[in-house]
Amino acid sequence: MRLFRKNRWAPLILAGPSFIVYTYFVIVSILFSINYSLTKWNAISKPVYVGAKNYTTMLTNPDFGTVMQNTAIALIAALVIQVIFGLVFAYLIYRTRHGFRTFRALVFLPVVLSQAAVSLMFTLVFNSDISPINRILEAIGLGFFRHNWLSDPNIVLYTVLTPMIYQYIGLYVIIFLAGMQSIPEEIIESGFVDGASSFRVFWNIVIPTQWDIIFICTILITTGTFKSFEQSYIMTWGGPGVHSAFIAVYMYFRTFVDGNYGYGSAIAVFILLASLFITFVLNMITRRLDY
């Protein structure tokens, strides 16, 4: 139903302001990013065009390699843990009558907190001097897992990953739960009537209907991981070195601390392309699985 065909000003008045703001500050900004990425610039003197030099430097820089590896590990860990735990806990809550609302409310709580606050909380949890984590591990007999969580270069990546994954599992639980709730009751009932176990119902009835939602969640998780900044910055400043840095943190330090705006822009463009690419790939994968 398309209304108000005769009024020519309406589209301009209604959609115009959003269009202008969005186009100038988002789309044009991206073009600027690409422009800056071709320069060597400290944001004070005049930019010097160096063509693709930033990109070649970036791709051959070992630090960048570490950062990409970190980001890849983070992405895989987030996808695997958040999707699997999300689905499982969503299903558990879905099949719970008593306390449904309570569990749902509790699991979602961390999502509304600021990432900075959660990162600060986990900085305290992983603190080397007080180290409640180490003490818990000892108490349950896993003492050999003790580490200097915030300073050991081999472990520090996983330390930083923890708040990232912890905070947002609840979001995906809620999303999957909403998805499950839109499955017609009869289908689930008939599954149980036919004698299927709870697990079978989960695996053969619930999951196949949720692929669209799973796909959307994988996109959210991917964009979320590429955006992630606070956890790494607040807990360890990306360190030691770049061992716990993700791509957004790496970009921040190169740009605003080193003063290398051209290189930083190249990283930004790379982040953009990588997100879009992975979204595209995930689209392909989950479309195949959907029936």
Binding site: M1, R2, L3, F4, A10, P11, I13, L14, A15, P17, S18, V21, Y22, F25, V26, S29, I30, F32, S33, Y36, A43, F89, L92, I93, R95, T96, G99, R104, A105, V107, L109, P110, V112, L113, S114, A116, A117, V118, L120, M121, L124, V125, I130, I174, I175, A178, G179, I213, I216, K227, I234, A248, M251, T255, Y261, G264, I267, A268, I271, S275
Partner: protein, 274 residues
């Protein structure tokens, strides 16, 4: 029968464990806010004994509570107002008046663009416009970064939520599109708008990166960044840091308790309707 009961028990056990794990860091930090360093170092998990109240006033002072709290409030409120207005107008057009999906897709791309991609150009633009370190500057930035999501949610809402008959009746009554928007579309869209308000408010309140980069002067800092800065000054006063964290998460928790339904609906509506 027994097997089923065991399954149920295991399920509840899993859920309770998950809940405890979720709440543990939060509860622990709240407890620590009322203890001092000697207590915390002595026994990380102990109950506050005695209860220390001095951490909070120190934290308030350290983060210049009044200034930063007001800043966060102002940024969130103004961003919400402007973004909701702009987005609802665009959503009305997109859901009821536009031919095809081109413009909608154009706006929605913004959701998939990571903020870092536009961080540097926005920084430079704001600097050129002399809006760096100013309130209007950061508000514009926040509007821009939240607009796509708001449009997405509101368009979806309005498409199904505003009956065409109502609009047709308004047209018959002589309403032009803008009047129809304010008189018919907006009032009906209040639930969707409340959802967007909650999401955008929380989004701006919790935002860190842009606030860190664009707001260096203490007069315009946000609460979020200020609490982080505590760590620089008071790195070893764990009780104080815990108090700071508590101050930071309290408003979010309050909003969550009040508007839980809206928040959940808003976040799932986009994903589930897809």
């Amino acid at each position: 029968m027994v097997r089923r009961n065991i399954a149920i028990a295991v399920k509840y056990l899993a859920l309770v464990l998950a809940s405890i794990t979720t709440l543990f860091p939060i509860v622990w930090v709240v407890m620590n806010a009322f203890r001092d360093n000697t207590q915390i170092y002595g026994n990380p998990f102990g109950w506050p004994n005695p209860v220390i109240t001095g951490n909070f006033p120190k934290a308030f002072a350290g983060i210049h509570l009044v200034v930063t709290l007001s800043n966060s409030l102002i940024y969130s409120a103004v961003t919400v107002a402007v973004a909701v207005l702009l987005a609802s107008m665009a959503a009305f057009y997109l859901s009821k008046m536009a031919k095809g999906n081109l413009l909608f897709t154009y706006f929605i791309l913004g959701i998939m663009i990571p903020p870092q991609a536009i961080l540097i150009p926005l920084f430079i633009s704001m600097r050129n416009l002399h809006l760096l370190n100013t309130r209007p500057g950061i508000i514009i930035v926040y509007i821009v970064t939240n607009l796509s999501l708001a449009i997405f949610i509101l368009t979806g809402f309005m498409r199904k939520g505003i009956p065409d008959e109502l609009l047709e009746a308004a047209v018959l009554d002589g309403c032009g599109p803008v009047r129809a928007f304010f008189r018919v579309a907006l009032p009906i869209s209040v639930p969707g708008i409340v959802t967007v308000i909650t999401l955008v408010f929380l989004g701006v309140w919790n935002e860190f990166l842009f606030a860190l980069v664009m707001l260096a002067s203490p007069l315009v800092k946000t609460l979020n960044v200020a609490v982080y800065s505590l760590r620089g000054q008071y790195m070893s006063d764990q009780g104080l840091l815990a108090a700071g964290s508590v101050i930071l998460i309290t408003p979010a928790i309050v909003i969550y308790i009040l508007f839980q339904e809206q928040v959940v609906k808003g976040l799932t509506a986009g994903a589930v309707k897809g």
